[in-house]
Assembly symmetry: C2
Homo-oligomer: 477 residues x 2
C-alpha cells in the first residue's frame, strides 16, 4: 500500500498498553471537497424540494467512510489484526454504550466530554469514551484476571476536535492489552515489539518509540525538589517539550506553576536527555537519582527491557526519553510513545502525533473451550531446560518476523510440562522446543501436540516446516 | 463450522433488499450461565467492597462478545462478506448516530423505539435505528444514484426484546443494497442468489425463501373487496399466517378489523396458497386477479424472476407464498423472506424467524478512483451478441459457485463496448466473453482488460484459468 494511502487513515498510537491506532486522519483537501459538494447541493435544493427531506450532513465531528476509504481502512486493520493474532491475542467486543455509572469518575476532568443518552425511562446510559473502562468492566464481570485481548471499535468524545487535523468525535481505537501477573518486562517487551511490527508493516515511513518510566519521572521530581502536590502539573509542562522549547517550558514552570528557577533548571538537565541503553546505565550511576528507590527500580527495569528489545531486534527503534510524560493517570511503570520521523505535512496541517503503551500481564491457565479456538497461534516456543529465555525470545522473534503466529510463556524458566499443557488448553498445534543439545546441533525439536511426535528440524528449515504443517489445518478450521 | 455454532450467531434475514443477517441469537443456557455468574459475584462483593466500583452488568438488551463468541461471529461475517465481495459489492460505513431530524418521520410508530442522545448543547442526535436511512442520507449527500454496497454494523432499538429468544437492543444488521435503474428482475434475482449462497455456506440446515410481490397483494385485496384504507391493517393480519391458523387470522379480520366473513374467506382462498412457478402461471389465468393491472404486473415479473432463478440454479429453494406480507412500508415490488426448515429448538425457545429482500438497482457508470479498487471482482461475464442473457446468467452462476468473484451488467442486451468500459472503470482485470461461435465450440473468450489480449479457454478450464490469472495480482494488491 502506498505511504500516502495509509497515512490518510492512520493517526496515532495512544493510551494504555498498546492502545493502538486511532483513525482520525483525513486530508484537508477531502474536507474542502465535501464542503464544496454540500454547498453546491444546498444551492441546488432550494426551499421547495418537497420530497428531499434528508438533512445532508453527518453530525458534528463525524464522517462517513466511502468505499475508497473503507478499502484503505480494511487494509490498515488487516495489518493490525494479523499482528495481534500472530501474537496469540483473543478478541472481544462490548456494547457501544455502558451504564452511566460505569463511566462515572473514571476520566477526571474529561468526563464532561462523555456523550450521555437521553433519559427515556429505564437505565441511564452513556456512549463509551474509550475501550479501557469497558474492558475493566468485562474483566470484573467475568472474574477474569489473565487475558491477552484486542478490541477494535469506535469511541465517542464530545470534544471540539480539529477535523482538518484528522481529529473526530467518533473515531476508532485499536486496543491490545495483556492483563495478569508475570515476570518483569517480558510482556512489556512484546507490546513494544507489536507496536514496531505494526508501524513497520504499515509502511508509513521511519519511526521512533520513546520510552520512559513513571517511577523515574517521580524519582527525578523528588530529587529536584518538586513538592509532591505539583508532580502532576509539572508533568504536563514536561510533556510539552516535544512541541515547544525548553525556555518556554521553564517559563511556565516558574511563572505559572511556582517552581524556583533552580529547581526548574535541575529538571531541565534531566528531561532534555534522551538516548539508548547507555543513558539508562549512565543514570544508574547518577549519584542522586540512583539513591531514589523508585527511580532505581524504574532504571533497572528499563535496563532489562532493553535486553529483551535487543533480542527482539528492535532496540534501534527505541529511545529512552526523559521528557516523555503523557497519560500518567493510568500508568505505574514503563510508558512509551511512537513518533513518525518524517511526517508528510500538507498545508494547514500539523505533523501527526503518535502514541503510547504500558505494562500488562499475560493470559494463562484459563480453561478454554476446545471446540472453538479463540486464537490462531500456530506454535509455542518452549524450552526444555532452564536459562533459555534469551534463546526463546530470539526464536519467537524470528518466527514473528517470518509471519508465523507464535507465543511464548512470559516466565524466565517455565517447566516443559506447563508449556505443553498451555498448548493443550489453548489448542496450539505445535511446540518448538529449544534445548542445550539442540542448540549445539543447530536444530529445533518440533512437537505435534496432538500426536506427541517429535522431530528435529534444522533451524533454517523451521519456518517452512511450521507453514507446511499448519496451513491446511488452519484453512479447514 | 458446526451447525450449532453458526446458529448461535445467526438469526434472521430481514429488511429492504438483502437486508441481511441479524445477530441476535444467544442460547438460553448462555444467558442462564451469565445470570448465575452475576448473582455469585454480587454475593461475593458485599456492601464494603471499596475499590470494586464497576457496575457488573451491560445495559439492558445488550451483551458483550467473549473471544469464543467473537470467533464464531468472525466466521459468520467472513462467509457473508466474501459472498458480498464475490458479487462485486463495495462497502461503506456511517456514524453510529445521525442528526435526530434525519431519522424523524422515517419509521412511523416505531419511532418511539429510537434512542435519543441527551441535549448537551449543539446538535440533537439519535442512534441509528437501521442502516437504510443512513444509506439514503449518504446517497443524497454524495449525489449517488447507482451503487451496490454492503454495510455491516450495529443498530439500536429501545425495544423490550426477549433476550432468551436471541433478540437484543443492540444488534448487527448486514445490509446489501443495489441502488439504481435496471432491466426488470435481474438485480432482484441476484439478491435472491446471494441470500441462498450465504444460507447454504453457513450450513445451518435446509431453508426456503418465500417470495411475493406487493402489487399482487394489493391487487388481491382490491378484487376481494377490501377498502383501500384497510390494506395495511389486513396485511398485518395476513402476515401472522406463519404463526397462527387461518381461523384465528379470519377471526381477527372479521371481529377486530371489520371485514365481512365473505371478504375474509375470499382472501383466505388466495393467501393459503403457495408453490412454484406453476402457481404464478395458474394465477395469471385467474379471471379476476389477471384483470387487475397491478396484480398482473407483479405476476408477470415473478414469472420472469423464476426464469432467472432457474438459470441461477436456486428455483428449488424459492416458494411463491401469497401470505408473505411483511415490511410493506418499504416495498413496491417483489418481497422475500427466507425460513429455516428444521430449526433446532431448545427448551423455552421459539424457532428462529428468518428474513426478507426487495428490488434495487445496480451500480453503473460511476467514475471510480483507479488507485484504490473498491470491489474485488475478478471477472465480468459479458456477451458479444444479443440474446445471450440466459447464457450470461448460467455462466456467472457457475463462477460464483466455484468461488470466483464475478459480475454481469443487469441489462438484457448490453453492448460489448459498454461491458469493457465498465471493467476499466471498476478495475476488473478479466472479461469472460460469450458468443454464438464460442457456445458452439464449447469455449469462452477470456480477455485481459489491461493488455486487451483474448484467448479461447475451454469452459471446463475457465475457473482454473481465472484463478491462475488473478490470484497473484490480488495478493499483491
Amino acid at each position: 500500500m502506498a505511504e500516502r494511502a495509509a497515512l490518510e487513515e492512520l493517526v496515532r498510537l495512544q493510551g494504555e498498553r498498546v492502545r493502538g491506532l486511532k483513525q482520525q486522519k483525513a486530508s484537508a483537501e477531502q474536507i474542502e471537497e465535501e464542503v464544496a459538494k454540500l454547498l453546491k447541493l444546498k444551492a441546488q435544493l432550494g426551499p421547495d424540494e418537497g420530497k428531499q427531506k434528508f438533512v445532508l450532513k453527518t453530525p458534528k465531528g463525524t464522517r462517513d467512510y466511502s468505499p475508497r476509504q473503507m478499502a484503505i481502512r480494511e487494509k490498515v486493520f488487516d495489518v493490525i489484526i494479523s499482528c495481534f493474532k500472530r501474537h496469540g491475542a483473543e478478541v472481544i467486543d462490548t456494547p457501544v454504550f455502558e451504564l452511566k455509572e460505569t463511566l462515572t469518575g473514571k476520566y477526571g476532568e474529561d468526563s464532561k466530554l462523555i456523550y450521555d443518552l437521553k433519559d427515556q425511562g429505564g437505565e441511564l446510559l452513556s456512549l463509551r469514551y474509550d475501550l479501557t473502562v469497558p474492558f475493566a468492566r468485562y474483566l470484573a464481570m467475568n472474574k477474569l484476571t489473565n487475558i491477552k485481548r484486542y478490541h477494535i471499535a469506535k469511541v465517542y468524545r464530545r470534544d471540539n476536535p480539529a477535523m482538518t487535523r484528522g481529529r473526530y468525535r467518533e473515531f476508532y481505537q485499536c486496543d491490545f492489552d495483556i492483563a495478569g501477573q508475570f515476570d518483569p518486562m517480558i510482556p512489556d517487551a512484546e507490546c513494544l515489539k507489536i507496536m514496531c511490527e505494526i508501524l513497520s508493516s504499515l509502511q508509513i515511513g521511519d519511526f521512533l518509540v520513546k520510552v520512559n518510566d513513571r517511577r523515574i519521572l517521580d524519582g527525578m521530581f523528588a530529587i529536584c525538589g518538586v513538592p509532591d502536590s505539583k508532580f502532576r502539573t509539572i508533568c504536563s509542562s514536561v510533556d510539552k517539550l516535544d512541541k515547544v522549547s525548553w525556555e518556554e517550558v521553564k517559563n511556565e514552570m516558574v511563572g505559572e506553576k511556582g517552581l524556583t528557577p533552580e529547581v526548574a533548571d535541575h529538571i531541565g538537565d534531566y528531561v532534555q536527555q534522551h538516548g539508548g541503553v547507555s543513558l539508562v546505565e549512565q543514570l544508574l550511576q547518577d549519584p542522586k537519582l540512583s539513591q531514589n528507590k523508585q527511580a532505581l527500580e524504574g532504571l533497572e527495569d528499563l535496563k532489562l527491557l532493553f535486553e529483551y528489545l535487543t533480542l527482539f531486534g528492535i532496540a534501534d527503534k527505541i529511545s529512552f526519553d526523559l521528557s516523555l510524560a503523557r497519560g500518567l493517570d493510568y500508568y505505574t511503570g514503563v510508558i512509551y510513545e511512537a513518533v513518525l520521523l518524517q511526517t508528510p505535512v500538507r498545508p494547514g496541517e500539523e505533523p501527526l502525533g503518535v502514541g503510547s503503551v504500558a505494562a500488562g500481564g499475560r493470559y494463562d491457565g484459563l480453561a478454554l473451550e476446545e471446540k472453538v479456538r479463540t486464537t490462531e497461534t500456530q506454535v509455542l516456543v518452549a524450552s526444555a531446560q532452564k536459562r533459555l529465555l534469551e534463546e526463546r525470545l530470539k526464536l519467537v522473534s524470528e518466527l514473528w518476523d517470518a509471519g508465523i503466529k507464535a507465543e511464548l510463556l512470559y516466565k524466565k524458566n517455565p517447566k516443559l510440562l506447563n508449556q505443553l499443557q498451555y498448548c493443550e488448553e489453548a489448542g496450539i498445534p505445535l511446540v518448538a522446543i529449544i534445548g542445550e543439545q539442540e542448540l549445539k546441533d543447530g536444530v529445533i525439536k518440533l512437537r505435534s501436540v496432538a500426536s506427541r511426535e517429535e522431530v528435529d528440524v534444522r533451524r533454517e528449515d523451521l519456518v517452512e516446516e511450521i507453514k507446511r504443517r499448519t496451513s491446511p489445518a488452519l484453512r479447514i478450521c
